[in-house]
């Protein structure tokens, strides 16, 4: 094995990745080259046994980061270490101690049974022969697939396939596990089971280090010790979610469900002294005869609530519901993604 060069489970230093695409506009015309910076000098580290969330909108660079750390992609700049091993120069060592689970229904062989899939991957990872059967059985039991272990994967539901993927990700008992949107497209109860499984079995019981990427902010809020926000390839914030929320310059949020909201009223609201930001978000609801809009208003303190309500009343808007809350990860996400 190589020499360990980092005290962290994962260490990323000034990591960059450019995607270069060339295209010829005409059959014999000149080629034009486009460079997209998927990652722009990002740095972060993950402690042993930590569940770290990497958050960001589509195209922010989350999957690119995971692929580099799993050795599936080479960076164009910077360095990354997993358990001290360089992911480029010591890729073979890294592959032995990591695994990845991606969302969606990929990475499994549908004509093989669940057990055959796991046995195949156990062979690829050189799991000791004597342990293969017991490890496969234990993993299948852990995710509740024992009874369907000998059915072909094509007969599995989406949730079952995802649970089997998690077994595949654990087949080599990885020290660091990368979960790239592991609950993508799953229904609420299955996603909840999977989150619980990751937190309790993988992190707490087995002490594994996990890097999770997700779009679902409640998922990150519920699961992660620390989070990092990526936007346009840049890591714009890293830390404990409570700490990030405290530092967030947006203060409180008032959520209003209102009727008779006009553009003029919304624009006027934005100009109130106590209001920092005001946006309408998707909401499908209506009273007996009127459409309901959902307003999220960022204010500095709770003292702004009566002022906002007075304003809405003066503008003849009917307030159906009011909710005052501190910033959530979703607010942070919107803030860092530049959508507030």
């Amino acid at each position: 094995m190589g020499v360990r060069r980092s005290e962290f489970a994962v260490e990323v230093r000034e990591l960059s990745r450019d995607y270069i695409s060339t295209r010829r506009n005409h059959l014999i015309g000149k080629k034009t080259t486009t460079i997209v910076k998927a990652l722009d000098h990002i740095s972060f580290e993950i402690q042993e046994g930590e569940l770290f969330g990497l958050l960001g909108p589509n195209g922010a660079g989350k999957t690119t980061t995971v692929k580099i750390l799993c050795t599936l992609l080479e960076p164009t700049g910077g360095h990354a270490f997993v358990k001290g091993y360089d992911v480029v120069k010591e890729a073979k060592h890294v592959r032995k101690i990591v695994n990845m689970v991606a969302g969606g229904e990929r990475m499994l062989y549908y004509r093989l049974t669940g057990r055959e899939n796991l046995t195949y991957f156990a062979d690829l990872y050189d799991v000791p022969r004597k342990e293969v059967a017991s490890r496969v059985n234990r993993l299948l039991e852990l995710v509740g697939l024992s009874e369907r272990a000998d059915d072909e994967v094509e007969k599995y539901s989406k949730g079952m396939k995802q649970r089997l993927q998690i077994c595949r990700g654990l087949i080599n008992e990885p020290e660091v596990l990368f979960l790239d949107e592991p609950t993508l497209g799953l229904d609420v109860s299955i996603a909840k089971d999977i989150r619980k499984f990751i937190q309790e079995k993988i992190v707490k019981e087995q002490g594994k280090t996990v890097l999770l990427t997700t779009h679902y902010m409640y998922e990150a809020e519920e699961m992660c010790d620390r989070v990092g926000f990526l936007n346009n390839g840049e890591l714009v914030a890293v830390g404990h979610s409570e700490e990030l929320k405290r530092k967030m310059p947006l203060g409180f949020s008032i959520e209003l469900l209102v009727t008779r909201l006009s553009n003029e009223t919304l624009e006027g609201l934005k100009h109130l002294e106590c209001v920092k930001k005001a946006i309408t978000t998707d909401y499908e609801g209506e009273t007996e005869d009127e459409k309901i809009d959902r307003l999220v208003i960022n204010v500095e303190s709770d003292k702004a609530v009566p002022k906002v309500l007075d304003y809405m009343s003066n503008k003849h808007c009917r307030v159906v519901a009011v909710n005052l809350r501190g910033p959530t990860l979703e607010d942070l996400f919107m803030f860092y993604a530049g959508e507030t």
Binding site: R17, C70, L72, E74, L108, R111, E116, Y120
Partner: protein
């Protein structure tokens, strides 16, 4: 570890891609149909035998046998081309990442895929041979079993190695499938599969002699149907042995190069 990965890969490929009634049926039906088509195409011209000339020797073999061996080796070549696009198949079904994420030896994975295709080919070989020998009375004349064995083995290895080279290339590019299809027809024409090499325009012969299928066809036809000895087929066997070394070396080098290049260019999991 190496052997374990080879076997695991072969088992997986057989179950995932070949063990269905439909695949097994068409594996047998297509070459059988194609071979019969060629045989009956030649019959009206009154050619019941075909003269094969190579180097200074000349052998006469019967038409059914000539077509049979041509079709069998061509089917094997096609199957190896199919093995060649196995990584492309993995790419499309979304499993390539999970395979390359593992520390398993890449050459062992290639070999496993080639072995699965070979086992599938054995089914074709036995089925087509039995049908032709029983129904078309192919005249088999084996004088030197060692020469026959060497011819079959080296033909197999050279075509398998060619397939593996292509397979490695598939990691690099999603266009490999297209190249495999492009190669198929010209190779069928140039290798002497449909007609003997001496009927080929001389200008094209140098290209024919670059193909392992050409030498495989010569050596197997002569040793199985023409009663040739090991000395008669020494040249094609030597050429085949060189081709085995070249293509295996190329496959091993390409595998490493293609994976590195695909990771650098981000084409590894591109659909």
């Amino acid at each position: 570890m190496f052997l374990r990965v080879v076997l695991a890969e072969a088992r997986k490929n057989l179950k995932q891609y070949f063990f269905t009634v439909r695949v097994l049926f068409w594996t047998l039906a297509l070459p059988l149909g194609n071979g019969l088509y060629l045989y009956f195409l030649y019959l009206p011209f009154g050619a019941e035998t075909v003269s094969l000339e190579f180097s200074a020797s000349s052998f006469t073999v019967d038409l059914a046998g000539f077509t049979l061996i041509g079709q069998l080796l061509y089917s094997f070549f096609t199957m190896m081309l199919l093995a060649g696009v196995a990584f492309d198949r993995e790419r499309w079904q979304g499993t390539l990442e999970s395979v390359l994420l593992s520390p398993a030896n890449r050459v062992a994975i290639l070999l496993g895929m080639a072995i699965a295709n070979t086992l599938n080919y054995l089914w074709l070989l036995v089925g087509v041979m039995i049908s032709w020998v029983l129904f078309l009375n192919v005249n088999i004349l084996i004088v030197d079993p060692l020469a026959l064995f060497a011819s079959i083995l080296l033909s197999y290895l050279s075509l398998a190695a060619l397939g593996m080279s292509l397979e490695a290339f598939c990691i690099h590019s999603r266009r490999a499938h297209m190249y495999a299809n492009m190669l198929q027809e010209p190779i069928m024409f140039l290798s002497g599969l449909i007609f003997p090499l001496q009927s080929m325009p001389e200008a094209l012969l140098p290209v024919s002699y670059l193909l392992p299928l050409t030498f495989g066809l010569i050596s197997v036809r002569l040793t199985l149907l023409g009663g040739a000895s090991i000395f008669d087929v020494a040249i094609p066997l030597t050429v085949l042995a060189f081709m085995v070394l070249i293509f295996f070396g190329l496959a091993i080098w390409l595998m490493g190069y293609a994976e590195r290049s695909a990771k650098a260019k981000a084409t590894l999991t591109q659909f």
